[in-house]
Amino acid sequence: MPLARVRGWQWAVFGGLLAALGVMFFLGIALGSVVIPLDQVFAALTGGQTDKASWEVIIESVRAPRSITAVLAGAALGLAGLQMQTLFRNPLADPFILGITAGAGLGVAVVVLLAGAGGPTFTAGLGNLGNVGIVAAAFAGAAATLALVLLLSARIRNYVTILIIGLMFSYAVGSLVTVMIAAADARQIELFVAWGFGSFRGVTWQEMRIFAPVVGAGIVLGALLAKQLNALLLGEAYARSMGLNVKRMRLLTMLGASALGGVVTAYCGPVAFLGVATPHLARALLGSSDHRLLIPAVILLGGVVALFAELVAQLPGQTAALPLNAVTSLIGAPVVIAVLMRSRRGAFAS
């Protein structure tokens, strides 16, 4: 009987993704605004001496954390997007559908925009709040939102209601931010907008110590929930009939996805598009909705796409980078549309 589990060509897809990730990662290390000869890149990677001391620093302290951040953020967003799309049975769902970004944005807005309202504390620039303060604020905002959503969803059974609450929350928070923007000066607004552009470059080794473990934990949790997500493909009633504790599973999934989305938002800003698009690309590539295939696929693919976006945003030799969100959306959207139109099944899955 032709009842293979993972088919040959699917293995090939995984192989391809792994190879692409490796290539992209190497490119992420090798390319940047400063041109470093390839042999020097290898020298730095193998622990040797580079001709210029700054090159070693650039590769070790700038490019390596940046590339690792991109991989982790892409994987986190892809996985969280997949989880949300299956959980809410909605092809447009992403990690931010529950208002996580809005919450993180509110935190950042409070720090960036209100910091100056009581006094001119922000006039002179960024101060030592800088990245660290913004990360902390975004984290607090995302965590508060997450707690609120989980609290509400423990009481509410209906998925659509939870979605609508998330949406309403986003609107309300958006209004608060607007109010703060109205009362902020241009420099503060610029900082806020710059945060909104998204970037993988803010994470240093120091911050990686928090970022990487949180993403790792989210991925482990996601992998453990693969079976449950599969059961949910048939709908909640079937899932229940197969012995799934839907409520607990929903809570765990939302916790995991929100933590992933929240930590990425905190460290990289609200990175658009990857969360929605990566699951669709993965489904189209694998031709399957099986989460035991999709989860590793979105993790790899998310990393590849994020690295690619980062590479495009930072065209080699060019000093000023494009906003990451502009790249992910402007380049990514047509790609996803093309992929979906070519695949027989069209948009959805889950």
């Binding site: 009842l3 453990l224 693969a226 079976k227 493909l233 009939s241 197969m242 012995g243 889950s350």
Partner: protein
């Protein structure tokens, strides 16, 4: 057959819906038993509560009162996975699973039997294959469920329920979207599965004929929520079936175990002849509202002779006019004209 040992039973069960404000009881005081290998049709008109009852039996919904026992133990004391190992369902929910092969869907039935990671053992794959084989869906296995016809998909869903290796399978209107031949095939399949695997099967339907012809036991829900349990023939004899479905327009024919449109009599008809053609000729006249007599008992408003040998198919005489024709549709038209010509 039924070995008398109840695998699923309800005690004083009330089912319905509970919202924050009020409780709506749909059915009350239900005492039902399901034995191994029993093939049960849950019959009743739409909206009487068949789905609610099945969902309560399968622990998707909580009972308002009373208990349901699976293998002698109350559902409320069992863990979800334990329930799932004893009982599986096929629901009316339309599937939107994205790209998933039929095999993967059936494989999902192994959910309660696998560990946290959902890793499938060789045994799980054997059971999956067996389930697919049992419903005759081998050539569907590698196809995407979205590409299957309604009948094929329903067979796959039955295989999925089978892969759970339950003792009871509950199916909510499994034949609802199917065409006639698929309906008959699926019901036959379910019955075979019940017999071969000593599996109790409860399926709800409003298709009276199929239920009465195939079920070991019928749970008949009358419109008021009254429940009648018995063999199909017993329920026909007792008149419960007729009462449950009979209305102004329908009359139950116990002998043929089917309903017929009730209408104002167009008169008496006498049909001579034998065989299939004569029987269908009678059916045509009945459809036109005639009471069809077999022998010449008194006067008739139309008298027909059906001959299957040579010449015309039929000859008829009504109100002094005679006609002959080659199709039964012509006969029906002549009869219709006659009833208008000669009212009463």
């Amino acid at each position: 057959m039924t070995n008398g040992q109840p695998v699923l039973e309800s005690l004083d069960l009330s089912v319905g819906y509970r919202s924050r404000r009020r409780v709506r009881r749909v059915l009350e005081g239900l005492n039902l038993t399901v034995s191994r290998g029993e093939f049960i049709a849950l019959l009743g008109p739409n909206g009487v509560g068949k789905s609610t009852l099945l969902k309560t039996f399968s622990a998707i919904q909580r009972p308002l009162a009373g208990t349901v026992r699976l293998g002698g133990r109350p559902l409320s004391r069992l863990k979800p996975a334990e329930i799932a190992k004893g009982l599986s369902v096929v629901l009316t929910d339309r599937l939107d699973v994205g790209s998933l092969s039929a095999y993967k869907v059936v494989e999902l039935g192994r959910h309660p039997h696998t560990g946290w990671g959902g890793r499938l053992t060789a045994y799980d794959h054997r059971v999956t294959r067996w389930a697919i084989l049992s419903v005759g869906a081998v050539d569907l296995a590698h196809r995407d469920v979205n590409e299957l016809s309604d009948g094929e998909r329903q067979r796959v869903m039955v295989a999925r329920a089978l892969a759970q290796q339950p003792r009871v399978m509950l199916l909510d209107e499994p034949t609802a979207y199917l065409d006639v031949s698929s309906r008959v095939k699926l019901t036959g399949l379910l019955r075979r599965l019940a017999r071969r695997n000593n599996l109790a099967v409860v399926f709800s339907t409003h298709d009276l004929e199929i239920a009465l012809r195939t079920a070991d036991t019928v749970w008949l829900l009358a419109p008021g929520g009254e429940l009648h349990v018995g063999g199909p023939e017993d329920l026909v004899l007792g008149g419960q079936v007729a009462r449950a479905f009979q209305g102004d327009d329908l009359a139950f024919n116990p002998l043929e175990r089917c309903f017929r449109l009730q209408q104002e009599s167009a008169g008496r008809a006498l049909v001579r002849g034998n065989g299939l053609t004569a029987a269908l000729g009678r059916a045509a006249l009945e459809r036109e509202g005639y009471e069809v007599a077999r022998a010449s008992e008194g006067p008739a408003d139309i008298s027909v002779t059906i001959s299957e040998t040579g010449g015309a198919l039929w000859e008829a005489e009504s109100g002094g006019l005679s006609r002959r024709g080659d199709s039964l549709a012509q006969l029906a038209a002549f009869a219709r004209a006659g009833s208008r010509r000669d009212p009463g």
